[in-house]
């Protein structure tokens, strides 16, 4: 069977593989036999090999070198291009993070291929599905030049185990000077959270301007915690200083596609919809019965979030 390379995306420092990697391994099986590629600092692969094998990696290519972490994006694309040259895979699948998309872009130039970003599905003939214009249009696309490269949007595919050998194969890494242009001098975490990461979470609870203050976002957080959810925010809530920008959902923020999206005090402007419209189930809580968010909602409560949300949180906690 044809080999398909899947670039593994890892959590920082010993945090294991990200769910998006397991999704990519699952999606890649439509095209052939997946092999995982770990391009990371030395000592990283041992902690993630088993998970990669469990989700279908016949081979785990291990390219470990300090430079791939010390410089932005370019070294990873270089190593991946080298591996593509050696293995001639049928395709490359990469999780659709900002870095993943940039690796895909640079790889495409290096090997003379086309690439498709944020695909939600890949079929056996290589056709991919993409969602355009704030979720209003579904597009089917193909790569027509070179070996196809796809980046897979998080939460579009359910990861399914398919145990495989996961045979480790070391890849020798030599990073060119040209790839050492942009040096990463520090990685700063400003908000540490025990909640799931926004783009990976299977439930997201978001607050908008209707939440009315930063303090009052605690009721959004409490509902999120009762559901094991991530917290999101509309741009209006972020601009008003209620919640940090890295939690913004929408066109200029994160695109999320969880099983359940709960929009609280959010009107449902098109730019907000752009980031959440493909969520499987949508619930809206809003005091304005005319709020456009209700057009999207599978379930809507017309009411004051200050009463409805705490009551719901209490009831969900009581069920545990």
């Amino acid at each position: 069977m044809a080999e398909v390379l899947v670039l593994a995306e890892l959590n920082p420092a010993g945090g294991g593989v990200r769910k998006t990697t397991l999704e990519a391994l699952t999606a890649a099986r439509a095209l052939g036999e997946p092999s995982a590629v770990v391009i990371a600092a030395p000592g990283t692969a041992v902690g993630v090999k088993d998970a990669l094998a469990e989700y279908g990696a016949a081979t785990v290519y291990v390219a470990e070198a300090p430079e791939v972490d010390e410089f932005l994006v370019a070294p990873k694309a270089e190593v991946l291009a080298q591996l593509v040259g050696e293995k001639s895979p049928a395709a490359v699948v990469i999780p659709s993070s900002p870095e993943g998309k940039e690796v895909a872009a640079r790889l495409a130039i290096k090997i003379g291929s086309g690439f498709l970003t944020d695909v939600t599905e890949i079929t056996a003939d290589g056709t991919a599905t993409q969602v355009a214009f704030a979720g209003q249009v579904i597009v089917h696309s193909k790569v027509t030049a070179g070996m196809p490269i796809y980046t897979l949007r998080g939460n579009s595919v359910t990861p399914e185990p398919a145990p495989a050998a996961g045979a480790e194969q070391a890849v020798s890494v030599s990073v060119s000077d040209a790839a050492k242009g942009a040096k990463v001098t520090d990685r700063v975490v400003e908000q540490k959270s025990s909640r799931p990461e926004l783009t990976e979470a299977s439930i997201v609870v978001s607050g908008g301007r209707g939440v009315a203050s930063a303090d009052n976002f605690s009721i959004i957080e409490a509902l999120a915690d009762s559901l094991g959810a991530a917290v999101g925010a509309s741009r209006a809530a972020v601009d008003s200083g209620f919640y940090p920008h890295s939690f913004q959902v929408g066109q200029t923020g994160k695109t999320v596609s969880p099983n359940l999206y709960v929009a609280v005090g959010i009107s449902g402007a098109i730019q907000h919809r752009a980031g959440m419209q493909t969520s499987k189930t949508i619930v809206a809580i809003n005091k304005d019965p005319e709020a456009p968010i209700f057009e999207l909602a599978d379930f809507g409560v017309i009411g004051d979030l200050n009463t409805v949300v705490p009551q719901a949180t209490e009831q969900i906690n009581a069920r545990k």
């Binding site: 994006v73 694309a77 900002p98 998309k101 940039e102 690796v103 872009a105 640079r106 495409a108 130039i109 086309g114 690439f115 970003t117 944020d118 979720g135 209003q136 249009v137 579904i138 597009v139 089917h140 696309s141 790569v143 030049a145 070179g146 040209a178 242009g181 942009a182 001098t185 520090d186 990685r187 700063v188 975490v189 400003e190 908000q191 540490k192 959270s193 990461e197 559901l227 920008h245 890295s246 066109q251 200029t252 695109t255 359940l260 098109i270 189930t281 949508i282 619930v283 809580i285 999207l296 379930f299 809507g300 409560v301 017309i302 009411g303 409805v308 009551q311 719901a312 009831q315 069920r319």
Partner: protein, 259 residues
């Protein structure tokens, strides 16, 4: 400090956007076209750097004739001059091909810094800085929420989930900006009047030495096979809270086996 700022004209994300069934491309001619929103932040950042360090800001755009509106907007904000690459053969080009045209145009300009937006609202790809960095062999400083330029070195804070990465590179380099980086100015009346007299150079593929076979729908590296409107959602359930709204919400979640 000479800066080239990349500006794209896109269909307004706030109005209905369509695909053209004739060739499966974005319907741009009939659209309500505007400057890609995040590019205004790139323009502002270029102006801020120029105001501190001197030099010139050149706007570069690849797009149809209507893209002159986007150029005028950038010039009225304070950019000095513009290069507009316009050629019928470019229609339908994908990101890889546009990057070849932009790279060729950049090759004819002198710059210390290229600044672009982090993402176009039509493609939502966020890949142009990476494509150009790869083609031109320049350092990529993408996804910035902060930029400082000092002593021939550019430093950014690359926005990440819950924080940032500090990244630096020697000039010349390519920077892309998010909307967290600044607050774009509004063009003043004086700026709008002045923009009318600023030079805009129009270039064709021939001027850039790019072969027409490298661009256009027929030679694209990706192809839209078909498209369709997303099937409308079935009518949802809506309840008015009369003391039991929370209960009904939780019952709904239970029915979905979520709680």
């Amino acid at each position: 400090m000479n800066i080239v700022v990349l500006v794209k004209q896109v269909p307004d994300s706030g109005s209905e956007r369509k695909m053209d069934p004739a060739d499966n491309t974005v319907a741009r001619a009939a659209a309500d076209n505007v400057v890609n929103e995040i590019d205004e932040y790139a323009i502002e950042e270029a102006l801020v750097v120029k105001e501190a360090q001197g030099g010139e800001v050149t706007v570069l755009t690849v797009g149809p004739d209507s893209a002159t509106d986007a150029i005028r907007k950038a010039l009225s904000m304070g950019a000095d001059k513009a290069v507009h690459v316009s050629d019928e053969a470019i229609k339908g080009s994908d990101a890889v091909q546009i990057s070849a045209v932009l790279a060729a145009a950049l090759g004819q300009l002198e710059f210390d810094l290229v600044i672009c937006g982090a993402e176009a609202t039509d493609s939502q790809m966020s890949v142009m800085p990476a494509l150009l960095a790869e083609r031109l062999g320049l350092p990529q400083l993408s996804g910035a929420r902060k930029l400082t330029v000092d002593g021939g070195v550019a430093k950014i804070e690359r926005q990440t989930d819950g924080g940032y990465w500090a990244v630096e590179a020697p000039l010349p380099a390519i920077v892309s900006t998010w909307d967290t980086i600044n607050e774009p100015r509004y063009p003043s009346f004086k700026g709008i009047m002045a923009a009318k007299k600023k030079p805009v150079e129009t270039k064709t593929l021939a001027d850039l030495g790019v072969d027409a076979s490298a661009v256009g729908l027929a030679n694209a590296t990706t192809q839209v096979v078909d498209f369709a409107g997303r099937p409308p959602k079935g009518e949802g359930v809506k309840v008015t809270d009369e003391g039991d709204g929370a209960q009904k919400f939780v019952d709904f979640l239970a029915g979905q086996k979520i709680v």
